[in-house]
Amino acid sequence: MIYLDNAATTAPDREAFLKAAQFSQEHYLNPSAQYGGEVSAALKEARGSILEKIADPAQFELVFTSGGTEADNQALLSCGRRNAVISAGEHAAVYEAGLQLKSAGVELRLAPIEKDGGVNEEKLLALVDDKTSLVSVVHVNNETGAVNDIFGLARRVKEKNPRCAFHSDGVQAFGKLPVRLTKDVDLYSVSAHKIGGLKGTGALIKRKSFALQPLLRGGGQEGNLRSGTENVLGILDFAYAAEKKFKTLEADAARLRVCRERLWQSLDEKFYVRFSPESGSPYILAVSARGLRGEILQRLAAERGLIVGTGSACSSKKPFSRVLEACGHQKEILNGVLRLSFSPETTEEETVLAAQTLNAVAAELGARIG
């Protein structure tokens, strides 16, 4: 089987999992208990190790959550007042939390995106005023792979309104692109299972002085920002998996960029058009089989041992992806979307084989429905 839906989730790293599992089995005490020192020390180490990968621990801190969705929700629901600006390319976790703000009376402003899924910076900035309490822009668009320059944007947002909070969903960037958070970014969401960690673990990284509100209240864990007994297994596994990914991050990115282009070049132009910009994340290639249906191609490809995504896994139950529709594509193109996404384990040979399969299924389906 060739698995090219790594933006949906990745195979858990075996070594990281076994190490984390062994520790949590042997040290099962509650880290918050008086006697839970050893577990609490391991968590502290994991926290530091994840944080330092992308931010200065002197300026930032990290709140563990149940995943990217929770981190996004906590970020948005903490800072919605007056008006909030999000891009039309946001993941459902940000978009739906934005709608929640809207129903609570916040004016939600949607910044338009370009054909490739990247946010239109000027139009976004035009929506920011002195009443804007929050701007949220996804770092890497999870459907097209377009990379937004969130650091430049954050700086310009702060220049316009220094009191406005800036959040970015970094789920498809963390562990894949070199990231160093700047002081203009207040909040940044990350997730474990997109980089070989376990499902159900993520984190919201915050600027230390930023006043975040808890979503969950209770025992006061995570500095009172996220109550609930810590997910020791998931957190340690997250740290071990991240450690591994970051070691080869730049080499992986460079190699996958080649694989991605190779795949694209091997796809038959008769059938496929491309959404993803060349400058986008090397981990994602979004294409569309013109006039065909992505979900049917997906099933035909699966029969031949190739797993690919259609749009975003979270939105595949709706007729079209909200995000790709916002990119301004026609219905004919939107119906045929496939998302191919990679991991450092993906080989060039696999991408070539995948292209052959995709060409074959498009030809077959095209012939079948005329």
């Binding site: 249906r293 979900e295 049917i296 099933r299 035909l300 029969e303 139950k317 389906l365 079948r368 429905i369 005329g370």
Partner: protein, 383 residues
């Protein structure tokens, strides 16, 4: 004092010389419904008695009995020796402790020393003495405590009547084949024919790869839900994707659905004959969609010789939904899986297709070969 369930049956008493047959089938169906649960089933005059079950499983057994067609009503009661004190203790157990009530006695054993009236008065009087919040109302009581004096020296005492599923025992009205989609209507149609005693088998058409496994799983789940009502425990499926492709490629777009339905009926008839089913059953309701007009129905009927039963033909959608909710299939039916790919749906389907036009268009297809291919895709799932 033993807990028992008294089951009364519906229309079987209308049957003359065939009554023995209907009762035997009913009995088999009851046994099948209670399979896996400890119990004894006794036949007494005009009713059945379930005894010897675990108290904790009373609700489960009642639930299963309530779905057996032919059950008019049932009551959970107590079986006691028929001396007065035992009967009274049982009456105390089952009688609510406030409101209006009466006691009704029925004696199968006519040698019992008291008349029905005397026994009712005796038990009623003692209840009234012991529970001051009760009052007697023989005309319109809130509660009726029933005492059934049986010939074997025992009495059944109960106070509540639960309504059964009604209808006829499944298996007494032959076998039919239901064309089941993933929608709301067809499961209801199957339920209604099973209610009239028909053995209902299930056939589903899918069009993989245009439809996905989610749609098939949904139909399996519907079939499982229906099997609680003695509808067949298996599901037959056929793939009609290639038929759809051929129609799409060669025939007038507005006839897509009409032509596909004619294929479905032909295929269903073949499958029905193989399993010895005597009719087809569909969930069609007149005028509900383009293919369910009288012209659409005529065009489908024209290709089969088996009768096609359409128990919902005169139902409004909301009436169908009501039954679907009652039998527990509604929530599954509305799950969002397409049972037919929109690739093949025309923008404007023909509402009143002319038979001559349909037949003309159909000539463009190799009907026999397409049928053979679809039949070769047959899969049977045990549920």
């Amino acid at each position: 004092m033993e807990k028992v369930i008294i089951i009364r049956y519906a229309e079987i008493h209308l049957k003359g010389k065939n009554r023995g047959y209907f009762e035997r089938v009913f009995c088999v169906n009851l046994e099948r419904a209670m399979k896996g649960l400890k119990h004894e089933l006794h036949r007494t005059s005009g009713r059945y008695l379930v005894a010897g079950f675990d108290d904790a499983q009373t609700e489960e057994i009642c639930g299963r009995i309530s779905r057996v067609f032919g059950v008019h009503s049932y009551s959970v009661g107590l079986c006691v020796p028929y001396d007065l004190d035992s009967i009274y203790r049982a009456a105390q157990e089952v009688c609510p402790k406030e409101g209006s009530f009466k006691v009704a006695t029925h004696r199968a054993d006519k040698k019992y020393p008291m008349t029905s009236m005397e026994l009712s008065a005796h038990i009623g009087g003692r209840l009234l003495d012991d529970f001051p919040a009760l009052r007697v109302d023989v005309h319109d009581p809130e509660h009726t405590v029933c005492v059934d004096i049986r010939e074997n020296g025992t009495a059944l005492v109960f106070a509540k009547f639960e309504k059964g599923a009604g209808g006829m025992p499944v298996g007494t009205s032959g076998k039919g084949l239901l064309l089941i989609s993933g929608g709301i209507d067809s499961p209801v149609a199957g339920y209604m024919m099973a209610k009239r005693g028909m053995n209902v088998e299930l056939l589903h058409f899918h069009s993989y790869p245009y439809t996905n496994d989610g749609a098939k799983e949904k139909v399996k789940e519907l079939a499982r839900l229906l099997s609680r009502y003695s509808v067949s425990g298996k599901l037959t499926t056929l793939n009609v994707a290639h038929i759809q492709e051929e129609i799409h490629a060669k025939c007038a777009a507005e006839l897509n659905v009409t032509l596909l339905r004619r294929f479905m009926f032909r295929l269903a008839e073949k499958v029905a004959r193989e399993m010895n089913a005597k009719c087809l059953i569909t969930g069609e309701s007149l005028g509900q969609v383009a293919s369910q007009t009288i012209e659409g129905i005529t065009s489908s009927n024209a290709v089969v010789s088996l009768p096609v039963l359409r128990p919902l033909i005169g139902f409004d959608k909301d009436e169908i939904v009501l039954v679907a909710k009652k039998i527990g299939t509604f929530e599954t039916s509305v799950l969002p899986y397409e049972d037919c790919c929109t690739v093949f749906l025309p923008d404007f389907p023909a509402i009143k297709p002319k038979l001559s036009f349909i037949e003309e268009e159909e000539k463009k297809l190799d009907v026999e070969a397409l049928m053979r291919e679809a039949l070769a895709s047959k899969e049977v799932f045990a549920l």
